[in-house]
Symmetry: C2
Subunit: 389 residues, 2 copies
């Protein structure tokens, strides 16, 4: 254990090199392959037994343990920034500035640091260790990387615990998954002239009714449950009844029950709005229809307060001066948490800002950064177990 901690200290400059190098390989949504290759080269040098790229683009490296069980440690390859974004890293004092440097490139560098320290210190774990750089965590990626890992990939059904290194708040452990359902609801009709064809169905009317009624939906404060009608569009001219309009709706909850209730209500509101508009219109030119197009679906998982993985992770943090509390968020851990696989999303280091903006930065001040990496390593070793040497 102490040799491994010493290896974290000795490897800190390599951690920083990894962080800068990986940040400067663009990884836009659905374009993570180049960064995956860069990660693969580095993890392959950490004494893994196998390193593969799976069907969806996750880099998956296996380090065999001496006994039973399998613990996965993951960070996500993708950033929110589109192709063409300048991802050059700039250093000012102890800060590194670049889009994506914190979310989640520092997580990628952290799991490399953990794997490299185990290799350098020649520490064997009891459980197998699976180091995963996954795709599709952000936005429309819709957790497709971890979804494949747990539902379809080679290791599906065999992972006993999951750590996601993602975030910069060392005082928080994410042990609940905020679930979300996202839809683009498209309303269509025959269109027509606003004056001459008045009386035909108007898709905007149904859109308005859905949005207005959704806004009147009571939702619980605990577990926190929310809705938002956001991007709207459609219609071609002030002179014309629209042929097509759409609204994008985001539903979220920390608990699957209220999320399912909200989902059912939204579907009922769409059906009612279509019925109302068709009921008052002259239908000879055509009826109103609505299509509910799913554009996101992240499973909710109730917040866990305790359990072996949570308790050991908390203890590991306390060991290095952090006092985290548990919270729910939307991370890669949503998928295993919803499958009842003990999972925690933990910080990759203290201090960051401007997440999801071009001004994103992380603080790589040595003391805090090293303590965070040691806490992560400690959590992994506590859960995976150290083989008698």
């Amino acid at each position: 254990m102490h040799r491994a901690y010493a290896a974290i200290e000795a490897g800190f400059d390599t951690f920083l090199d990894d962080l800068v190098m990986l940040t400067e390989v663009p990884a836009p949504p659905f374009g993570e392959a180049a960064r995956g290759e860069a990660f693969k080269t580095r993890i392959a040098a950490c004494g893994m037994d196998t390193v593969t790229v799976d069907a969806v683009g996750n880099v998956v490296a296996l380090r065999r343990g001496t006994g039973r069980g399998k613990v996965a440690i993951a960070a996500h390859l993708d950033t929110v920034f589109p192709a063409g974004t300048d991802v050059t890293v700039r250093r000012e004092g102890t800060r590194l500035y670049a889009p994506g440097v914190g979310d989640d490139t520092r997580g990628l560098a952290a799991i490399l640091a953990v794997a490299r320290a185990l290799d350098a210190a020649d520490v064997r774990t009891e459980a197998d260790l699976l180091v995963v750089a996954d795709v599709g965590e952000e936005g429309l990626g819709d957790l497709r990387g971890v979804r494949h890992l747990f539902e379809a990939g080679e290791h599906a059904g065999t992972i006993d615990a999951f750590f996601s290194f993602d975030g910069s708040d060392m005082e928080k452990l994410v042990t609940g998954g905020i679930g979300s359902l996202r839809y683009r609801i498209v309303f269509r009709g025959p269109g027509g002239h606003s004056f001459i064809d008045f009386g035909r169905v108007n898709p905007s009317n149904a859109l308005g009714a859905v949005v207005a009624e959704l806004a009147r939906t009571p939702v619980p404060d605990e577990p926190r449950t929310t809705f938002s009608s956001s991007v709207l569009g459609g219609g071609s001219s002030i002179n014309a009844i629209p042929e097509e309009v759409f609204v994008e709706v985001d539903l979220r909850s920390a608990d699957p029950g209220p999320l399912a209730d909200l989902d059912a209500r939204l579907r009922r509101l769409v059906a009612q709005a279509v019925e109302e508009e068709n009921g008052r219109a002259r239908l000879s030119a055509g009826m109103l229809t609505a299509e509910i197009v799913p554009i996101g679906n992240r499973p909710a998982a109730p917040l866990r307060e305790n359990g072996r993985v949570i308790d050991e992770t908390r203890a590991a943090h306390l060991e290095f001066g952090f006092s985290p509390r548990v919270t729910a968020s939307s991370t890669d851990a949503n998928v295993p948490l919803a499958l009842d696989i003990p999972s925690v999303t933990l910080g990759s280091g203290p201090g960051a800002g401007g997440v999801h903006t071009l001004g994103e930065w992380v603080d790589v001040e040595r003391d805090g950064s090293v303590r965070a990496l040691k806490a992560g390593l400690s959590a992994v070793l506590r859960v995976a177990g150290i083989a008698a040497g």
Copy 2:
């Protein structure tokens, strides 16, 4: 009178030349100056007393009468087609094809034909004749040409009757004005994260309530009164509560009363929706506001069945084989009709299609075209009166 009719026949080829030439001078919305100059050159050759271009770009030519009164004959310079549209005229059989050839370039050629025939036949009218090629009839032009003519220009307050040569249905006389009010309603709030900031005002919610309630508004069938929520937009991300959304709303009626009622209801609905959303939200980050931005305002005027100008115009049409009925529409005549100035919008010739499309055409078959021009000339002379020769 007969000499003037003979001049229409003799000048038919010149009418066609005018039509082709004027069609080929582009006149996009708010870009009518070049076509105005071309019209000015031609009307100046028709023996007018004065020819001027007024402050908004209308070409206004005065031909003095021998007695009292003033009769205006108008057509509009502007087309709906943007700058850069190919306006080359193509002839197939008796059809001329080109964007804008019918709406309203044939009207411009018709008022030139009437003026030229009076000059050629040396017919003096009792009333002054005002020949007007006006700007801004279409769309966002919002009738600004005739508005200036009747409300601010040199001849404001002195015009006793108004003819608009616009349209291709010789079986219709427009004697009522469909009024319209058009708004872009913009809803604004502080925005925020869809999950973290849930509870803040969401501008989409208020937009939805306005559109849904407007859709439930009872409106009379007679006078025909309509509303349409058309172009929608706003919101930046499914992740974010929008900072700004908008909807464009079109209200119309053949009568000023129901139009004013509908307008008042819309304003009430906007106020109520803002109040509802602010009433249920957490306002610490900011309140919802709504701005009702006018983007169109055409006065309504009730349909007239009879009156000297209508009766004489009908008689003139019957004289040349047309049997028009009266109807309401949205034309340049809305403005004088709303001021109680006897006004008729009449066809510039029979046969046209593809109005407001790139495939627009008019039929210039000689017999029907000549009868239509004679009917127009006859209507003008019946109303203006022929001075004893």
